[in-house]
Symmetry: C2
Subunit: 346 residues, 2 copies
């Protein structure tokens, strides 16, 4: 019976939307009705879900009549316009865009970290930025055991975070360079920004547009969202976000300072081995460490290269990798839906 | 007349050796004789230098008779065996391997930082690790003005740092993946290590082998060499080194803490704009920042994305990019040779 749930996926044809459908299928998420919504441009697309062919419909306020859970991943402006309409009609919105993340009435949730925040929602629950999710999932078990006061992260981000067009550009540009043909960058680093640069065989230190303070929006998202999710407004967080020629799988080089001076690398490994949603991959003697190519298609956050800082007793270095489309987006959204069910909030 | 200098290049057919020849040519380095040396395997290769065809010879102790400057870049074991032989015969060795870098009687030199150390040599001068060179060239002007007490760096390193074979593997593996063919990694991350991983469209957090403390040799090189070159044994330095699917051009996300609390981003830009060997590329409003694809073939170190840390008044973030084969290797070596001439040490 699926408890009579009616689920809608908004942005069903996008990179994250496709992974949401796959995740709902893989998790055998119980529901009675699934409605697939998109922009006018993609409406009419046929999508197979559990062997059944579904037609994607153009999203409108009326699309949400009778919907219990609406998973949004169609860009911030769509969420701004339609999420309130869905809520008005009784749906709980799980929004994968940045539209409501820093709204003080909107919980921003990574279930392994702050599932309890779901109790306080007003209809919209925000799914954090992909880079933030995997980092806080790795840091929360450490914070619980040793406290946490400083985080400095440098990211190694895949192009699929910028959507299917970006993936297409990576591959066609890579082939053109291998063929020694001229290239004409059109998408990366930010489709809506003024200039576009080569992403194949290159590193671009810009994700999202720049703010006036010299940080990019992506960097500020990591900083602000981490503080909000972890309920640590005074946590020191700094981020440098870099786009790389990788299809899927974000990596992060993370330096942290904990509150205690007596933590050891072995303690931290034991802790992370047992942490929910985390897989420890850390054995230098076997060259075992996380890599994006290994993380693709998996829901967990992979942590390795754990080292004690050579100067500060409370300093540690970690390497954190996850599939940015799954734990970074689709899986975390579906996981929030599962938590809502578990907590009888839907 | 070229002041009668006889120059030898050891490892003339390698990735760095080729760039050394190009750099000697580009700089119009004055010399009378150029001897090209290599392993037995590459001996006999013909190389064109300034329009003349030269034949690469197998390196032996006797090869260095009459040589004034020997530029070594043929691996640590070749330097261990032959550099002392060259010195015995009166040559000054500029060694691009790690063989003598931490030897206390061997100066480790980046001319913009510690050219004066050349006065103390005992025949061998070490060229630092590529990742170290570009970082200290960017940090030295800052240290001079504001002091420096902490450095945390995460690197984004190109495969050409691992030689021509690694570049070949990147390209052939990339093409295989685009063709949806099976791949069989054989070189990366470290040819002589037990396991090999996909480098195309991936990130590998291992450069060089692991030490017992969980850091790689590459990371420890950055840590130890930075302290030595800057004459700051107590400087706090931490490094995480990552190999990426980029042919040439290393990038670094660098966090620093200076001694003073009153430094501004504008001050730092002014400083770096005038620093020798550094090009400032920093204008977020124009999406201007350094990228490896732009740095290839250039001798300078490019610095951008300079931001003040949002929590610590003495904290700054920088993005530092340079051609790892040029300033990271060949150009720094030739620059040392130019400094030796300028200081009348050869």
């Amino acid at each position: 019976m699926g408890r009579g749930l009616h689920v809608a996926v908004v942005g069903a044809t996008g990179a994250v939307g496709q992974q949401m459908l796959k995740t709902l299928e893989d998790r055998n998420f119980e529901m009675d009705t699934l409605t697939l919504l998109s922009s006018k441009r993609s409406a009419g697309t046929k999508v197979t879900f559990k062997g059944q062919e579904l037609t994607v419909q153009e999203a409108s306020p009326e699309s949400f009549e009778g919907v219990n859970i609406a998973l949004f991943s169609a860009g911030g402006s769509v969420s701004q316009a339609l999420a309130p309409e869905a809520v008005k009609r009784g749906a709980i919105v799980i929004d994968n865009t940045s539209a409501f993340r820093m709204d003080e009435n909107t919980p921003l949730v990574v279930p392994e970290v702050n599932e309890a925040d779901l109790h306080e929602h007003n209809g919209i629950i925000a799914n954090p930025n992909c880079s933030t999710i995997q980092m806080v999932a790795a840091l929360e078990p450490i914070r619980k055991a040793y406290g946490l006061n400083k985080v400095i992260v440098s990211t190694y981000q895949a192009v699929s975070g910028a959507g299917n067009e970006a993936v297409k550009e990576l591959y066609s540009q890579t082939q053109a360079i291998l063929n020694q043909e001229e290239i004409e960058p059109e998408i990366m680093p930010v489709k809506g920004d003024k200039k576009h640069y080569q992403i194949a065989f290159n590193a671009i230190p810009q994700i999202d547009k720049f703010q006036d303070n010299g940080y990019t929006f992506e960097e500020m998202k990591m900083i602000n969202e981490t503080k909000k999710i972890m309920h640590m407004p005074d946590l020191q967080v700094a981020a440098t976000c870099v786009r790389l020629p990788i299809q899927t799988g974000h990596s992060e080089s993370v330096y942290i300072e904990v509150d205690r001076d007596d933590a050891t690398v072995e303690d931290m490994k034991t802790l992370l081995k047992e942490a929910p949603g985390v897989t420890l991959q850390d054995d230098p003697s076997q060259q075992l460490y996380p890599m994006p190519a290994d993380a693709v298609g998996k829901n967990d956050v992979f942590v390795g290269r754990i080292r004690k800082d050579l100067d500060r007793a409370n300093g540690f270095h970690l390497w954190v990798v996850s599939d940015n489309l799954l734990k970074g987006a689709a899986w975390n959204s579906v996981q929030i839906a599962e938590s809502l069910k578990k907590l009888n909030l839907v």
